[in-house]
């Protein structure tokens, strides 16, 4: 966890002519699990989209480690057209785009990777169903399965557990843990204080146009006597019990 997977220097992020987060300088260690926390509208998604390359940098510099150029990004709002007639298997297979490109046939290795991803996300039994027949939680599992196929060194997940039940959340969180064990870097937008406390060693707080990286233990070491302080108010608004 010594080398930086991602380094931001004086970065400003925003869109539509508006700067949402300004002058961000931080270094995310390789292999870290980072919880991105902040109130609604603070700019968490904007910052994540900028790191993912979806939005141009408004200012500053961003450097990713060589392997971290292989990046997987799960946006908060799924843009999946669920009426499009493809199966869960075909949907997950999209994750092999970088290996298959426009023309290459699906190799046995890719088929095996797809089967493994489906099993790891508990979708093996429904792989031949049209995606339109999946529940919200199953679709989120399929999006995670597709991320597995992408074999990314850095994963950016924007509120991946919103609207899913507790068993699905735990199953998907175990995938995040396994990515951590494999040395992959994950940045996850979250609102659940216990999840942050137990599973993430670093927090990227986004508040009032600023963002900074803080060890979770230090950030959450707030005592009842701290009530009324800025940090207490931020945590109370950004995280729910």
């Amino acid at each position: 966890m010594s080398a930086a997977a991602l380094t931001l220097t004086g970065v400003s992020a925003g869109y539509g002519g508006q700067t949402t987060v300004a002058d961000v300088s931080l270094a995310v260690p390789a292999g870290a699990r980072v919880a991105v926390i902040g109130t609604n509208g603070a700019g968490k998604s904007t910052l994540l989209r900028t790191i993912a390359g979806e939005l141009p940098l408004l200012a500053g510099q961003m450097r990713r480690c060589e392997t971290c150029a292989r990046m997987g990004y799960l946006p908060q709002a799924a843009t999946v057209d669920r009426r499009f007639p493809i199966t869960v298997y075909e949907f997950v297979a999209m994750g092999a785009w970088q290996r298959m490109g426009v023309f290459r046939r699906m190799s046995p290795a890719v088929r095996q990777s797809i089967a493994n991803a489906l099993e790891r996300t508990g979708l093996g039994a429904v792989s031949r169903r049209p995606i339109g027949e999946l529940s919200g939680g199953q679709l989120q599992r399929a999006r995670f399965a597709r991320l597995i196929l992408q074999d990314a060194a850095m994963l950016l997940l924007d509120e991946p557990f919103a609207g899913v039940d507790r068993p699905t959340r735990e199953a998907l969180m175990q995938l995040v843990d396994s990515w951590h064990a494999e040395g992959r870097t994950t940045l996850v937008v979250l609102h659940d204080v216990e999840l942050v406390r137990q599973r993430f060693e670093l927090c990227l707080t986004v508040d009032d146009g600023h963002a900074q990286l803080t060890p979770t233990a230090e950030l959450l070491a707030v005592r009842p006597a701290d009530a009324g302080t800025a940090r207490h108010d931020f945590l109370r608004n950004a995280l729910r019990a």
Binding site: D81, Y89, M94, Q98, F103, V126, R128, R129
Partner: protein
């Protein structure tokens, strides 16, 4: 079986059949993607935009196949791009902007054609002249079908991903814009081919109606593509035979025949119980 074979002893009927077969192979699969991308109305707007383009080509170069085709392609692409831009940058929803383009294009086209109405039959440009296609026009329609099939094969994978999850393809570094623009170009080319055979008002029929019928019968993209071509071929033959035996205009007869197939499938699928999946039914 004479009623089925005899009409095609005439050269004009064989030409019409060849044109309809080419249109079925080229336009019907494009129609499937157009339907799935919810662009059927855009197809209609593009097909109407082809009329003023072809008319300008005619006014400049006379009855030149190349000039009218080029004019139609330029106008079709321009309206496809403009309608998308207006929908993105104005308060209007896309259907309203498409309806506006549709009406303006048709009005300009009819006015331009009327400027020299002694030389061009307005009914022919509106409803086509599939029974009087010359060899050059047949070659053009066949060439467009060939380009369309090869183009769709090239674009197939990125196009499918771009339809199902456009943001994913962009994030994965795939050629989403190329797939979208390539698809629009193929759609315009096929509508220009359809314009020559079926006219500006009917061209989109052979694209959208078979696709709609195929969508009702299948949840599989490959099956839908095959069914759409089959429906287009059946509707074309049915329409040409109807036109011959009942002495009615061929273009509308083909589109009506395609419409009957669609309505039959619609009624049949309404009566069919929807499929339900049980938890362990599908396997990897």
């Amino acid at each position: 079986m004479n009623w089925l074979i005899d009409p095609f002893e005439f050269e004009f009927m064989r030409g019409a059949l060849a044109a309809c077969v080419a249109l079925s192979l080229g336009a019907a699969p494009i129609g499937v993607f157009m339907l799935l991308r919810r662009m059927s109305l855009m197809g209609d707007a593009i097909s109407h935009a082809i009329l003023p383009g072809a008319a300008i080509g005619y006014l400049i170069a006379g009855l030149s196949l190349g000039a009218m085709t080029l004019g139609g392609i330029v106008a079709g692409v321009a309206v496809a791009l403009a309608a998308g831009a207006v929908a993105r940058r104005s308060a209007l929803r896309e259907d309203a902007s498409l309806a506006a383009f549709y009406l303006i294009s048709l009005a300009i086209g009819v006015l331009l054609v009327s400027l020299r109405s002694r030389n061009v039959d307005l009914l022919h440009v509106l409803f086509g002249s599939v029974l009087s296609l010359d060899a050059d026009t047949l070659l053009l329609i066949g060439g467009i079908a060939t380009v369309s099939l090869f183009g769709l094969a090239l674009l197939y994978r990125p196009l499918v991903i771009e339809c199902a999850d456009p943001a994913f393809l962009r994030q994965a570094g795939g050629p989403g814009s190329i797939a979208h623009m390539g698809f629009l170009l193929l759609a315009v080319l096929n509508l220009v081919a359809g314009f020559h055979a079926l006219g500006t008002l009917m061209a989109v029929g052979i694209m959208v109606l078979p696709a709609a019928g195929a969508r009702l019968l299948s949840d599989r993209l490959d099956t839908m593509l095959a069914l759409s071509v089959g429906f287009a071929l059946a509707g074309s033959v049915g329409g040409l035979l109807t036109s011959y035996h009942l002495d009615v205009p061929a273009g509308p007869a083909v589109v009506m025949s395609l419409g009957l197939i669609y309505l039959t499938v619609l009624l049949a699928s309404a009566a069919r119980p929807r499929r339900h999946w049980s938890a362990g039914e599908a396997t990897a």
